[in-house]
Symmetry: C2
Subunit: 204 residues, 2 copies
């Protein structure tokens, strides 16, 4: 998605060869028009999939996910993240490890909002090691519902989450795929396609 790539190039801050900070438009300050455009792009990719619910995780997933859910005209559900959990019977729980923060959180979704027959689109802001996406997918399956696909705003393609999700058979649609963050530069997967393939890998 060209608009998103341009925004990342203009405002993203490369903190290391592993970490990209996009707190001016996605993770702290949020650009609502960009979120709407992101929602439209996800809808164009999943329009044929009879989605019944969008699922994300607090907090940074909520803005892109609510736009997607609005345009699909289905409810949004967001998983809650918590460090410790009092035992509850009425929620689905999965463990999610954050490599960035080096903590394991429990993510929870109330059982009453997911049911057999739901076709769920999972949306998240970042894909790195895939922990959050797998946790959300497991919750969908606990409910007997179907993961229709996984929509990611920014994928760090040099980390292993994407490959693991592909291997597990999930359909993943990432709007910006980052090939590397070395030398303080953001390089997109599409950029290398331009160089190595037939010359037009820079699709939106």
């Amino acid at each position: 998605m060209k608009l998103l790539q341009e925004k990342i190039q203009a405002e993203g801050i490369v903190l290391s060869d592993q970490v990209l900070k996009v707190d001016s438009f996605l993770n702290h300050q949020i650009d609502p028009q960009l979120m709407l455009a992101i929602g439209k792009e996800f809808v164009s990719r999943f329009a044929q999939d009879q989605i019944t619910k969008v699922l994300t995780i607090e907090s940074s997933g909520i803005a892109p996910a609510i736009m997607t859910a609005m345009l699909l005209n289905v409810p949004l559900l967001f998983a809650r993240k918590q460090k410790s959990l009092t035992l509850q019977n009425n929620v689905y729980v999965e463990q999610v490890h954050s490599f960035t923060k080096q903590v394991t959180n429990e993510i929870t979704v109330s059982k009453k909002f997911l049911e057999e027959g739901d076709k769920v689109l999972i949306i998240d802001d970042f894909l790195a090691h895939g922990e959050a996406a797998f946790g959300l997918a497991k919750i969908v399956r606990q409910a007997g519902a179907e993961v229709a696909g996984i929509g990611i705003v920014i994928e760090k393609s040099f980390q292993n989450g994407r490959a693991k999700l592909d291997d597990a058979g999930f359909r993943v649609e990432s709007l910006a795929r980052i090939k590397s963050l070395t030398d303080g530069q953001v390089r997109f997967v599409e950029d290398s396609a331009v160089l190595t393939a037939e010359g037009n890998g820079s699709h939106a």
Copy 2:
């Protein structure tokens, strides 16, 4: 706001005479069309105020706030909540006590996203004791910016937050004002106006 009142009556769960659960459309599952309608209502109330930024707090404030920001065509900024804080120079910090959860969080906003001259609309999902709203307002003032107003989705008018914000001189616009939750019933401030005033207090 009539649509919101109807949704609360239809789906809100009165857990006690202090606690209303609205996790089917606002706090866990979210109704995006309702959020859009809420955004429109906030815009109609603050359209003349030259808002430059919307400020909310994670997580449940984000959905109504992003719709408001989208329609006002300004950025959204959400404060982060955390239990302990490593000392940082680049953020504004305020203490916010949650009476419901009996914890005090620190809320933070990066200094680079608020500046003198900003006219900030604060949006939150609930107003009870006013702790979050005051915390956000203090952050705006730390930045030398102006609080143009405070927009609340659901106000528990029987708790003291509204009165405290009024006394402090803030303009508060609450879309649903709950007078009481006794006997498992939701009663709105407007309902009592119907009985005590000229018979038409149930405006949207």
